[in-house]
């Protein structure tokens, strides 16, 4: 189930910058990103109200504040994607962040979940080889 969701997420990750890139050419990076977060906030609020109300508890006060820091990085990710995606060919939007993610996620899995296995490394190298083979001229 989570694997299928992750695939759908991948589809959305490509579609977002593609559409935002087109809009950036019309109204600029900042307005595009603002619209992106505006709609995002509306949808997220609606989702919280509809699906997540019963799960909210007073215990949320005890959540360490650093766990809310994800948005700082998310902000830059969206800004950079919107700025760059209209200036690069589509394959780089997939290929280059993937390289970055692979390196970083192995580090994160190693330190946070203490799970680093050799099979993953081989698989990641093969996936990367495949992407590289396709893009070779």
């Amino acid at each position: 189930m989570y694997y299928i969701l992750a695939i759908i997420m991948g589809v959305m990750i490509v579609l977002s910058p593609v559409l935002n890139g087109q809009l950036t050419l019309k109204v600029g990076t900042y307005k595009t990103s603002l619209l992106n977060f505006g709609i995002g906030a509306v949808v997220a609020t609606a989702a919280l109200l509809i699906f997540g109300m019963e799960s909210i508890s007073i215990d949320y006060i005890q959540i360490p504040p650093y766990r809310y820091l994800g948005f700082v990085f998310g902000l830059f990710v969206i800004l950079v994607f919107n700025h760059v995606s209209s200036r690069l060919s589509a394959i780089y939007i997939v290929l280059l962040p993937f390289m970055g993610q692979t390196i970083m996620s192995s580090i994160v899995d190693y330190y946070l979940f203490d799970s680093f296995n050799f099979k993953k490394l081989i698989g990641v190298i093969l996936v990367f080889t495949g992407v590289w083979l396709n893009e070779r001229k």
Binding site: A41, T45, S55, L79, V94, V124, G130
Partner: protein, 139 residues
């Protein structure tokens, strides 16, 4: 330079997913997505007020331009749910499957106003290697 920035962006995506994953473990994915977008929107508005010198008005837009915002909310929910359950590496791998699928479709049919790049047979080798890599990770 653009290529380097978007490469570093990959680091940021993982850091973002990790923080959001931690937050959703101690709360819920809906709460995570909500806080993420409220904070982002607030800071984005400040950045917009300071830096945006572009005078074009947004006005009325085609519906498809509203979709990225919708997807961004859903992506945070899926991302934090997945990273808590299947780990960062698997999340990336299956993200990639979806990304390759949709880029092939976009290239093949020129969807969403992108340029048409028809499928070439020589790419089959590359896709097979990618598939083998994913299978190796999965078993």
């Amino acid at each position: 330079m653009n290529k380097l920035i978007i490469f570093i962006n990959g680091f940021f995506i993982v850091i973002m997913n990790s923080f959001n994953g931690m937050l959703s473990t101690s709360s819920s994915v809906y709460w995570t997505s909500f806080m993420h977008h409220i904070f982002s929107l607030g800071f984005m508005y400040i950045i917009y007020l300071i830096y945006d010198k572009n005078k074009f008005r947004i006005g009325r837009l085609e519906f498809k331009y509203y979709l990225p915002g919708l997807m961004s909310a859903v992506v945070v929910m899926i991302g934090s749910a997945c990273i808590a359950n299947i780990g960062a590496t698997f999340l990336i791998v299956f993200n990639l499957v979806g990304q390759i699928l949709i880029s092939v479709l976009i290239d093949e049919f020129g969807l969403f106003g992108m340029e048409k790049v028809p499928f070439r047979k020589k790419n089959l080798v590359g896709y097979s290697v990618i598939l083998v890599g994913i299978v190796i990770m999965f078993i």
